[in-house]
């Protein structure tokens, strides 16, 4: 029963779209109602299943899924000519990512209530994006994984180009093409992975039992890692994200930064590092050098920007850099920190973009120099933004702190010179983060208010609910990190075990 429900997670959004197809676009309220209901339903479903996974921990697992501790394991033959199967399964890590997605999708649906343009299509696209993200996190078969992974490009472009603002075509293309560039690298290495492994299965469970030839790993790992890293905006492939976010509508920014950017990091962990641990050990210490830009310079760039979305985009870039720092640590704490950061940053950036979107709807500008003192008129949104800011600068009590402390402690334990230096720099750059966040919040919310904002109205109930739920999620993880960390540990254990067992090859030897 639970397994069936689990498979429904990605199906429900699609079914919702199908249900809405025959409804004429003029009945926008009905359509929105259906979508909101479906979003809420999936959220409840994922919440229930997360609880089930939690409750089931410790109980015996199906033999086929045992190496990865997967629950709700489903394996159905799919494309015979490719040996591709439909394989999905849940563990702590992806369950939480699914939960994150469900929350963000739900929030995204609610915040786009008043979106201009063809609402029917917009909501359908959101649901398809949701399907894609759900699918990525659920699938344990590489073909299935990739199908879902690449699917997002389709919805992304349409939503940005059709419903965005500013240089929407430019932003949308930049985003879509860069992501496509990343996924093309992944696709190429996937083939190599399949044929070099000599396996007749794309299943992660099966492939994880095989040690790939080192010579293959050495070139495939960087390609695949970079491919995934593109969507998590690792330097130098981060350039798509500021322009993309800036031109995207609110919900898309939320989804893109909140969950889509996590798909890359998730892929790095679940696929690249898991299947090619030997190469990971060789390459990751060098990858860390790139993080200097992400983590250290990213906040500085944010400091120089005036557009709220650009600021948030660079903030995302720096936070996502931390994920990679955690991954590069190759310690259980670091990996856990990275996973926590994925989840935490999802909520965080969702909240950021949600409040920014709501403020933008009112002020019609995102330039912080044009705003000021609007806290007086929109206290709720102001507080929401401030909370996002504080969570973003790693204030204890919010999830970001938990994740960051894990990452720092985990990464510091990695005994490589470069990693240490970057870790130290990363720790020290929490100040810079504070500087740009406070500067932004102060300019926007505090100080003198231009007269034109006298008529602003605060958030309505729908918007309030979204903000409150996101804040609650941040708080929940921040205050009670123990149980989520335990669940994450379970799913990271097999990955770390493989990494720990791998002997890094001697280069040139």
């Amino acid at each position: 029963m639970d397994t069936l429900l689990f498979n429904l997670i990605w199906l429900i959004p699609l079914l919702t779209v199908l249900v809405c197809v025959p409804i004429p676009g003029t009945k926008a309220k009905l359509i929105k109602g259906i979508h909101a209901f479906s979003g809420t339903f999936v959220l409840a479903l994922v919440g229930y299943l997360t609880y089930r996974v939690y409750a089931l921990s410790g109980t015996p697992i199906d033999d086929k899924a045992a190496p990865l501790f997967l629950r709700f394991f489903t394996d159905i033959p799919w494309i015979n000519s490719l040996n591709a199967h439909y394989i999905v399964g849940a563990d702590g890590l992806n369950m939480f990512l699914l939960l994150l997605t469900a929350v963000i999708v739900w929030g995204g649906i609610l915040v786009s209530w008043e979106i201009k343009g063809n609402q029917k299509v917009f909501f359908a696209l959101i649901q398809m994006l949701a399907t894609s993200v759900y699918g990525v996190f659920m699938s344990m078969d590489l073909v299935l994984f990739f199908v879902f992974y690449e699917m997002e490009a389709l919805c992304m472009y349409l939503m940005i180009a059709g419903y965005g603002s500013g240089r929407k075509d430019y932003g949308g293309k930049k985003l879509t093409l860069t992501l496509a560039f990343g996924s093309s690298m992944i696709l190429a290495t996937l083939f190599g992975l399949y044929f070099e492994s000599g396996s007749t299965s794309w299943s992660l469970v099966e492939l994880s039992k095989i040690t790939l030839p080192t010579s293959f790993q050495m070139w495939a790992f960087p390609l695949m890692f970079m491919g995934f890293a593109v969507s998590s905006s690792l330097f130098p492939f981060h350039f798509w994200s500021p322009d993309g976010h800036a031109s995207a509508p609110t919900a898309v920014s939320m989804l893109a930064a909140g969950v889509m950017m996590k798909m890359g990091a998730y892929g790095c962990l679940r696929v690249a590092m898991f299947l090619m641990p030997e190469a990971a050990k060789v390459w990751l210490p060098y990858v860390v050098a790139l993080l200097i830009f992400n983590v250290v310079l990213g906040p500085f760039i944010a400091l120089r920007h005036k557009d709220l979305k650009y600021i948030t985009a660079y903030s995302s870039i720096s936070h996502l850099g931390l994920i990679f720092l955690g991954l590069a640590a190759i310690t259980p704490v670091g990996l856990r920190g990275a996973s926590l950061q994925m989840i935490s940053h999802g909520f965080l950036t969702g909240l950021f973009f949600a409040t920014i979107g709501m403020i933008y709807e009112r002020t019609h500008t995102r330039d912080i120099t044009e705003m000021g003192g609007i806290m007086r008129k929109v206290p709720f949104l102001g507080v929401g933004f401030a909370i996002a800011g504080f969570a973003g600068l790693g204030l204890p009590g919010f999830s970001g702190f938990v994740a960051e402390s894990n990452i720092f402690i985990g990464a510091f334990a990695q005994d490589s010179t470069l990693t240490r230096v970057v870790t130290i720099l990363a720790i020290l750059s929490i100040t810079t983060t504070a500087v740009y966040i406070l500067q932004t919040a102060n300019r926007m919310l505090h100080g003198n208010m231009p007269a034109k904002y006298e008529t602003l109205t605060d958030a309505n109930l729908r918007e309030k609910i979204v903000v409150v739920v996101l804040v609650l999620c941040l708080l929940l993880i921040g205050i009670f990190p123990g149980w989520i960390a335990d669940m994450l540990d379970q799913s990271i254990a097999p990955i770390f075990a493989k990494l720990a067992a791998a002997q890094a090859p001697v280069i040139g030897g």
């Binding site: 000519s81 299509v121 199908v147 699917m151 472009y157 349409l158 180009a161 059709g162 879509t176 083939f191």
Partner: protein
Amino acid sequence: MSFTVPNFIIPDLVLLILPFLVIGCRLVIKNSKLPWRLACVGLIAVFVMLNFLPLVGGEGNYFISNWRVDDFGILMREVLTLSALLGLLLAKDYFDHGADGKPQMNQIAEFAGTVAFATFGGYIVVSACDLLTFFLGLEMATIPMYILTAWNKKDQMGSEAATKYILMGSVATAFELFGFSYLYGFAGSISFDVIQSAAAAGTSPLLWIAVLFLFCGIGFKLTLFPFYTWAPDVYEGAPSPVTALLAVTSKATAIAFLVVLIYGPLAPVQEQIAPLIALLAGVTLFVGNLGALKQSRLRRFMAYSSIAQAGYIMVALLGPADTAKTAIIYYLFLYTLANYLAFFVFGVIGHRREESFDSLRGLSKQNVSLATALAVAMFSLAGIPPLAGFFGKFHLFFSGASTGHYALVVFAVLNNVLALYYYLQVIKSAWADEPEGELTPLRMTKRQIIVTFLLTAAVILMGVLPHLSNNIFAGFSL
């Protein structure tokens, strides 16, 4: 003398008779709707019958020792028939109405007949067991295409296109013939089996010259680099439905030709010609993609797009027979669907407007279903999942990678990004750009609506649910 007609030959016979019936019908009965309907019904019947043929695997069945119907042949027949059917459906509107009230094209019965002849040419190619049949099939598939291109006698562009096409086509035929002659000289026979065993026994320069000329000749039909130059001009000059047919039927025939050749007589030397195939594939898809980057006219754009697609298809030819055949057939199916879908949308747009990117502006606001169909077609051609095109390309690359050609696969996959760029240009025009001035209203006939809907559904579903497509996957044991 009596012999029974085996089941597997019936569709071929029906298709052979069909053009005569259609044209004959037109001569006898003045009701102008009947021939077209007859043609459609006939093609549908052929398609259905083909679907009833069991896939037998292995060598297939022989009919008088010289006509082989194997699994690849059956499935290729399906592709060709589907293409012809869709082509007729697409063309119908051009024969009915024009922008100025007069039909754009005339003589639908002859048109349908010619299309059927071309399709039968494709049948011959996939059934051939010797060079002569092979050659005849290819010519039978090509010559009707010349005629179709020049269908509008009064259209200056059309006749220019046809002239270019036929002149270059003749030269390509000469190349091919030259290749055939050396192959004949190499093996001393025109039978595929003999050639194959001769090639397995040992090679000689004769064989390589033959391969070179054959590839160059077929490169013309398949629009490989640098033999593609005719394609953009001809695609643009030819009437719209003919362009679609050119892009699908002609290409499918050409690729079938290559498959038959490479996995038939040339199978023993496949490994030696792999570098040539890889080079052709890589350069072609790159050049096709580059050419399409900044197009403003839709049909020329589709020409470059189909050049690039040809390059992608070539990637699959590097793989082992079964994998490659599966990949190619599957890809052709999906390519047919997506391509025709695009042409149907262009047909609706181009009815009152110029067939250019600018005409697409504001489409999403005017008719969101049509815009969706266009987006589906474009994303499918670009190879974005979950649309069918992605799975097609996945199969192609899978086939190419299975023999370790990772570098080519990486290159091809990276080119996909380039391809995505220009497909996005189309989508951008339809979805993001504001229309300039008043939009002329769009008119869709019921037929167009139904076909567009079916094609959209098929493009969305065929990839995700591959079992729907006549179980071609069960047919080839992998």
